[in-house]
């Protein structure tokens, strides 16, 4: 198994940390992983994206131009990465802030109301965990208990009191994945 993933959105949405938690979860499941962020001018007040690869084998190129699955969280990222999903691949988006969803007919498309769910839960910061939950429902690459272990590894000790909230957000995301188009 090798899954090549792009996660893209605005800086501050938690794109990079979502990728990091996914990568840590992969490690907890004995997978090989890589996490390659954008660190260029685009992240300085603009879009941020990260390529995460989970694999049973050694990861070859950490930098890619096409992906097995994409998580897009704003319109710029939809415009940039919609065409980068491999035919037959998976696309997940949050309709909040995306006015023009994908029109591709050759990929699986899902959505999750991440922003709405997070604010209903009373903490906008757990948005990325809602999206991660939805992603893992769409692509069950790692088991939930490994994600929690990954969270523990990824978060500094002083934030460990927030792990139950993050777990709740992940489960909420899993429960609220909406199928838009299935091949």
């Amino acid at each position: 198994m090798t899954e090549e993933i792009i996660i893209a959105g605005f800086g501050g949405q938690g794109v990079l940390s979502m990728g990091k938690i996914l990568a840590y979860s992969g490690i907890m499941q004995d997978q090989e992983v890589s996490w390659m962020p954008s660190y260029g001018p685009e992240m300085r007040g603009g879009t941020a994206n990260v390529t995460v690869i989970l694999s049973d084998d050694k990861v070859s190129s950490p930098i890619l131009t096409e992906f097995d699955s994409a998580v897009v969280l704003n319109q710029q990222s939809m415009d940039k990465f919609e065409s980068a999903v491999k035919s037959g691949g998976y696309l997940l988006y949050d309709p909040n802030g995306i006015s023009q969803p994908s029109e591709r007919k050759d990929i699986n498309i899902y959505k999750v109301e991440g922003a709405k769910i997070a604010s209903a839960m009373g903490n906008a910061k757990i948005f990325n965990m809602v999206v991660l939950g939805a992603y893992l429902k769409m692509k069950p690459l790692v088991k939930l208990d490994n994600v929690i272990k990954g969270l523990k590894k990824s978060l500094p000790g002083r934030y460990h009191n927030l792990i139950p909230l993050n777990e709740k957000a992940i489960i909420k995301g899993m429960d609220n994945l909406i199928e838009v188009q299935k091949l």
């Binding site: 890589s34 070859s60 131009t65």
Partner: protein
């Protein structure tokens, strides 16, 4: 017991330095390598091992602090990215002349000038041909994974002290910024002053009655003596070329073609190999790990067995000059690369192989 972590390449360098018994780090921040000093500052190595970490006022100050530490027999290092490394060239040349072991890490970004903060491999000439003035070389290691970023720190120090010569880790922004799994060795204790006196009898550790003064300098105004010094340096470089070549070959056994690539480009080429082999093209990868000393003989041997070689670099084509010098000239050898901080995609690499080598 090895310890498993998920880390950026830059952070791996720092953790490895603490564990390699490094005595001091002196640096000045620049993207895309600032995490090296940030990690060290946060980690407070002076509490863990006694290692000193200092943000100097400039790159010039950093490299001269390294010169001073190395002259005292200490394991000292600095790091920077391309424009900062250019500023350090005077100090590096002086250290080569004075035969001072040290580690310089270059997390390369696109140039020339201030260029861009994105990854590049356009400092190959500077690193391998002696970037400053005078006839000299520094030992140059090119990691292609976060694990190698960690592993090469101890190796670079060992080689630097073995040959009394500066060593460089030539990385790039992609490997510096990406996170991968990394396993760390146990801590190697820092050398005590007693051990330093024993291991590096040439160092300026304070004169004792039983020996002459130790003088560390690159200056000798007597041309005859300066010539002798240069002859000695050249003999040392030949020894390094004989003993320290490192490389990796990936699926070269049945290969009709090979990519020659190091660092990030070598990772791109591994994916390109998968794509090409799905199309039935038998291609392998030759990855120089030491860029100086360059694996000339191995390239030459390989060139007798394959139909063509593609040197894949994130530059206008620098390493290809060494490939051309090393290889048999009756096969097709071309360069493919991107400049200015652009990383080629695996598909573009395969296309270049098809157009420039197979079809060319």
């Amino acid at each position: 017991m090895k310890e498993l972590r998920l880390m950026k390449g830059n952070e791996a360098i720092s953790e490895a330095a603490i564990r390699a018994g490094c005595d001091g780090y002196f640096g000045y921040p620049i993207t895309p390598q600032s995490e090296i000093m940030e990690y060290l500052m946060l980690e407070k190595p002076e509490e863990r091992t006694g290692m000193i970490v200092l943000q100097a006022e400039s790159e010039l100050a950093s490299i001269n602090m390294v010169y001073g530490g190395a002259a005292c027999g200490k394991r000292v290092m600095t790091s920077s990215s391309s424009p900062g490394i250019s500023l350090m060239q005077e100090g590096i040349s002086y250290m080569a002349g004075a035969e001072l072991p040290s580690l310089v890490v270059n997390v390369v970004r696109g140039g020339p000038g201030l260029g861009t903060i994105q990854p590049s491999q356009s400092d190959y000439f500077q690193a391998t041909k002696g970037g400053g003035h005078g006839d000299y070389h520094i030992i140059t290691l090119a990691p292609s994974s976060v694990q190698e970023m960690a592993d090469f720190v101890g190796l670079a120090f060992d080689l630097a002290f073995k040959y009394r010569n500066p060593a460089m880790i030539l990385s790039d922004g992609a490997i510096g910024q990406m996170m991968e799994k990394v396993e760390f060795d146990e801590h190697r204790p820092r050398f005590t002053n007693e051990e330093i006196r024993k291991n590096t009898p040439w160092a300026t550790t304070g004169k004792t009655p039983d020996r002459e003064r130790n003088i560390i300098t690159s200056l000798d105004l007597d041309p005859a003596r300066q010539e002798l010094h240069n002859i000695k340096l050249q003999a040392k470089y030949r020894k390094i070329e004989q003993n320290e070549v490192r490389f990796e070959k990936i699926v070269c056994d049945d290969a009709e073609y090979v990519f020659v690539a190091y660092g990030t480009s070598a990772r791109i080429c591994q994916k390109a190999i998968q794509l090409a082999r799905e199309k039935g093209i038998k291609v392998g990868l030759f990855r120089p790990i030491t860029l100086y000393p360059f694996p000339k003989n191995e390239i030459n041997e390989l060139s007798k067995k394959v139909k063509g070689m593609l040197s894949v670099e994130m530059s206008a084509g620098q390493m290809i000059e060494d490939v051309l010098l090393a290889a048999e000239r009756n096969i097709k050898i071309e360069h493919f690369g991107k400049m200015g901080g652009i990383i080629p995609s695996p598909a573009e690499v395969v296309e270049a192989l098809e157009q420039k080598i197979i079809g060319g």
